[in-house]
């Protein structure tokens, strides 16, 4: 027996031997996924140097949209609270930026956290009605806040004498001047990834679980010891603070702050992103943001390929809006769970291949 040699097998990368390892984010936990991550990163770093400046601009806008979609998804998809005031919070962030840079000349690393704080305070106010209101009623109360913020901002813009918009100078972070699409590509996408990581972390720890619990069954959540009111407000605060910081970044990126941009239509497009992408999913927010942001530009490119009559060209923006509406309706009808569900199904197909269905499992007890 002593001759018997015990073979030491190397540990499989798919096997997790501690709960610590099992708390890792699932998206990057197998060797194949890690390889995908590395290839994706390489592609990402090369992208702004290869693609045309126009495409990089679209990518930048997508990153901004992704942050906004993630913050709204946190509230609607994960906590189940409807907000129609997110364009307002975004505008509040943008105007905080404008006021602090134009009037006080403060640097970007103070301005962005300050926008976050302003957003958080507004979120606190917007969240207060959620004690009593639910669903569409809560949405209406946040819409009121949107209009109040917008009113304040437009007063500032017109009586401050800024005309059609407040022009900002390119900010600098230490020695680095944040100007040009390529620099902003990295700034914005790193911010987007950081937001995604933050939200993913929140969702796998205590606050995220509490939010999901409130969304699924609020009475059961309360009986499990969750202070529903506190966590609802917390969701509002986190979400509006994130989108406020995003508004600040957007203001810096476009270098112009104008109240017209932060209309109710913007909230609707963010809503469309999370519906198309998939409610309650970080990946879904990204996919939805990419699709909805790129859609009008893709249409323009498509229109360039075919010879259009003058009448069609004249009403092209109407066509864009129409296509946008069609996409949202088609998703609601055909795939209410969004792009994420399509992605899941594709993965499932390959996992089960060559079989189409999971077989019946006989549970012997």
């Amino acid at each position: 027996m002593s001759d018997h040699k015990i073979l030491q097998y190397p540990k499989s990368p798919y096997l997790k031997t501690s709960y610590y390892e099992d708390t890792a984010i699932q998206a990057f936990d197998t060797p194949f996924r890690k390889k995908c991550l590395v290839i994706g990163l390489l592609f990402w770093v090369c992208f702004p140097f290869v693609a045309s400046s126009y495409v990089v601009h679209i990518a930048n806008l997508s990153a901004i949209a992704a942050i906004g979609a993630m913050s709204l998804n946190l509230l609607i998809g994960n906590t189940g609270l409807l907000s129609l005031g997110h364009a307002g919070f975004m505008g509040a962030g943008a105007f905080t930026t404008a006021i602090m840079t134009v009037q006080f000349g403060l640097p970007i690393w103070i301005v962005i956290p300050a926008s976050g704080i302003v957003g958080a305070l507004l979120g606190l106010i917007a969240g207060l009605p959620s004690f009593q209101l639910k669903g569409i009623y809560l949405g209406l109360s946040t819409l009121a806040i949107h209009h109040i913020i917008k009113y304040g901002c437009s007063e500032y813009q017109y009586y401050g004498g800024f005309g059609y918009g407040i022009v900002l100078e390119a900010p600098s972070l230490g020695p680095l001047l944040l100007a040009g699409k390529t620099v902003w590509f990295f700034v914005l996408w790193i911010s987007a990834f950081a937001t995604a990581l933050l939200i993913a972390n929140l969702l796998r720890s205590k606050p995220g679980r509490a939010w999901s619990a409130i969304r699924d069954r609020d009475i059961a959540a309360e009986v499990s010891g969750i202070d529903i009111g506190f966590y609802k407000i917390l969701a509002f605060v986190v979400s509006s603070s994130l989108i406020s910081m995003q508004g600040s970044l957007y203001a810096y990126y476009t270098a112009v702050v104008s109240v017209e941009e932060y209309s109710f239509g913007l909230t609707v497009s963010y809503l469309a992103m999370i519906i198309v992408g998939g409610l309650g999913s970080v990946l879904g927010s990204f996919l939805g943001a990419l699709l909805i942001t790129a859609l009008p530009y893709a249409l323009i490119i498509l229109a360039g390929l075919v010879d259009l009559s003058f009448a069609v060209k004249e009403h092209f923006s109407v066509i864009q809006t129409g296509v946008f509406g069609m996409v949202v309706i088609l998703f609601l009808l055909l795939e209410p769970l969004g792009l994420v569900e399509i992605w899941r199904r594709v993965r499932c197909y390959f996992e089960l291949w060559p079989f189409s269905y999971k077989p019946l499992t006989i549970i012997k007890r």
Binding site: Y357, L360, T361, I362
Partner: protein, 268 residues
């Protein structure tokens, strides 16, 4: 089974897949004759409700599809029919497990929903009340305020107003007190005798189901593992042990249960 001449429902090799991925039931076949009470017993997730929903055409709303097999009523295939057409054209009526009544309507209004008979509507509803006197007493109150048993009665009453030939009942005894279960089964037998209905009963409560059924099947893991007359099933060792709580000659006591893992005979 009786001869083929009076065969009402014929289910052959039914297979249902949920969410394009997971198979819920496979190879389920059974026949129901006219005027018969057929019971399907089985555990949770065995596919009993899926079978019912497949017959009544509700699978689409559950994101499921029939991938194989056929459901025929009086030799007419109903695989592709919509739920409302199944109820209207074939006389198959489902009493679902949950959400069975309209909670914001009164009992009277609830009963008025399925009646499209016009003049005779009042008469017909009155006829229903003769079977459920306690519903008549509460006819003005909202259905949402009814107790579990009364809801069940109301749901059966509603189903009766759709002039059914085959009544599909999902979990009649779920969450009801013993006295209520007893009363409901009595009413059901009476209705069956008066209207000449066939009933497909899906039940957890094996003892009650087997006591009123004329033919029964045991479902497990999406398949029918055993079928026969109630007497035959009740004599089967595994049915006794896993569904009726009798081991050998003695009744098992809950206080004495220990963890054990004995495979059922039908899985080999």
């Amino acid at each position: 089974m009786k001869s083929d001449s009076n065969k009402l429902l014929e289910v052959t090799k039914l297979e249902v897949v949920y969410n394009h991925v997971s198979t819920a039931i496979q190879g389920v076949s059974f026949n129901i004759c006219e005027g018969q009470i057929f019971a399907i017993i089985g555990g949770n997730g065995a596919g009993k409700t899926t079978t019912l929903r497949a017959i009544s055409g509700f699978l689409n709303s559950d994101n499921a599809v029939i991938t194989d097999g056929e459901i025929k009523i009086r030799d007419r295939s109903i695989n592709m029919l919509k739920p409302q057409d199944i109820t209207r054209q074939t006389g198959i009526v489902l009493v679902p497990e949950r959400n069975k009544v309209f909670e914001t309507l009164t009992v009277q209004e609830n009963l008025a929903v399925p009646t499209s008979i016009g003049k005779r509507a009042k008469e017909t509803i009155q006829n229903i009340y003769t079977y459920f006197p306690s519903l008549y007493e509460r006819r003005k109150s909202l259905a949402g305020l009814l107790s579990g048993g009364e809801r069940q009665m109301l749901a059966i009453g509603q189903a009766m107003l759709c002039s059914p030939e085959l009544l599909l009942i999902d979990e009649l005894s779920l969450g009801l007190s013993p006295v209520m279960v007893e009363a409901l089964f009595e009413i059901l037998l009476k209705i069956k005798a008066d209207f000449g209905l066939s009933i497909l009963l899906v039940e957890q409560n094996a003892m009650e189901a087997l006591s009123i059924a004329e033919y029964a099947a045991v479902m497990e893991n999406g398949m029918i593992v055993l079928a026969g007359t109630p007497e035959k099933l009740m004599a089967h060792e595994d049915v006794k042990e896993f569904y009726l709580g009798i081991r050998g000659k003695e009744k098992k006591r809950y206080k004495d249960v220990k963890q054990y893992s004995r495979t059922r005979r039908w899985w080999g």
